[in-house]
Structures are given as structure tokens and as C-alpha cells.
Symmetry: C2
DNA sequence: ATAGTTATATCGGTCATCCGATATATATAA
DNA sequence: TTATATATATCGGATGACCGATATAACTAT
């Protein structure tokens, strides 16, 4: 999710940001959507720390209702996603058919 | 580059495999192509171990000419790339405009 | 021959990602 | 109330990605 360096390590965060941008979701929904795409559900020990990072970076807002927390992009998160998406498309140009 | 798990950590290897599939290249060319796409050239300490992994996995053939080594996909590498590409597209469906 | 450049490669260390197991808190059911 | 399920969260440990520095080997000057 950074700018510089050759880092490909932010893909999970990027994917979460992208999914939430299409529709505000809570953690379970995010996990299910990733499972549908990847074929394997991320373990809680994978997903929630990633969400926490995005929250602490100011990219996600949370709205608690009972035990579920619905996440949505902040304006800063929207901006970060736009930048990250542009970068992603440039890096992987030609991979998509 | 694996099959199971929710691992997004093999993106560099995937990208190398994809680039080499379009045209056999040596390490320097791969680094330059990544630099063009990413905006930052991977350090040798990043690139060559990644190439080595792919070679040891049987996905890359090498042909030495003087000091340069040209890498090309093996049949097994082609197969792996096809699988990885299909998975990649499914995961990131909708990210590309 | 000697020096410099280029391509490939390894090493040490840091951090992110990931999983499985476990913990907490809320809601639902018996 | 007590048990069970659900959603969120943390912990320990493993591995991958990454950089900077350094090493080797082969060309290319001078």
C-alpha cells in the first residue's frame, strides 16, 4: 500500500480496500468474498490484523452494530485505493486477457 | 505460486514468470521491465533469489552466453503460469477497468 | 596487463503475510 | 441461567519479499 520500493507485500490490504470500495462490509463478509475469489478463506489471524492496519492507516471507518463491525472507505482510503489501483494495473498490464 | 492457502506472497515470482512467458529474458532485462512497470528497480538481492526459486521449482530454463543467462519457461513453467494466471484473474476480477 | 563495467549471485537483517490456536464479547437457544 | 454460535481480535511461529552490501565471473576498455 506504500508508494516507493519494489514491494508486493500489500496485496491482501489492497484486495480488502478494493472489496470494501464496492460495498461496505463487515469482517465475515470480506472473508467470504475472498474465499469465493481465492477458493480458500483467510484465517482470522490473517484477516483481522490486515483490517487493523488499514484502519490505523486511516483508510477504513468502522461502524459497530452489536457484534458486527461494518467497514467503509474513508476519503483518504478512497484516494489510496485509486493510487494503488493505477499502480496495480500498470504492473500487471497484459496479465488480464 | 502455490495452490492452497490464502497466500499472496508469491507475486514477484508470478510477475517474473509472466514477463519471461512473453519473451525469454536475462536477469537485467527482467529487472528493467519490472522497473518500467513498478517505477522502481528490484535490488539484485530481491530479484535473483526469486529467479533461483523458479529455476529450482523447474519453471525456468537457463541458457548461458558469456556472462548473461537467458531464462525461458519450461513446459512445467508454462503450465504453472496458466494456472496462476487463471487464479490471479479470478481474485482480482473487477480491479482492471 | 590493469582497471572498470556489467550480469549474476549470496548474505544478514527487517518487516509483512500467513496460519492455527486461543481469547473476548455479543447474540441466540435451551 | 447456561450453553452455543458468531464476529472480532491477539499470539506464536514460519516463510516470503525486500534492501544494501558484498562477491564472483566475464566482458571492455585503456
Amino acid at each position: 500500500m506504500d508508494d516507493e520500493s519494489c514491494d508486493m507485500r500489500g496485496m491482501l490490504g489492497f484486495l480488502i480496500l478494493f472489496l470494501v470500495s464496492k460495498k461496505p462490509m463487515h469482517g465475515k463478509e470480506i472473508a467470504d468474498e475472498i474465499a469465493k475469489r481465492k477458493g480458500e478463506k483467510p484465517s482470522p489471524g490473517t484477516l483481522y490484523p490486515a483490517i487493523k492496519n488499514l484502519r490505523e492507516a486511516g483508510f477504513l471507518d468502522e461502524e459497530k452494530e452489536g457484534k458486527t463491525i461494518t467497514y467503509a472507505l474513508t476519503p483518504s482510503g478512497k484516494k489510496a485505493l485509486t493510487v494503488a489501483k493505477r499502480k496495480f494495473c500498470k504492473i500487471f498490464l497484459g496479465v488480464f486477457p
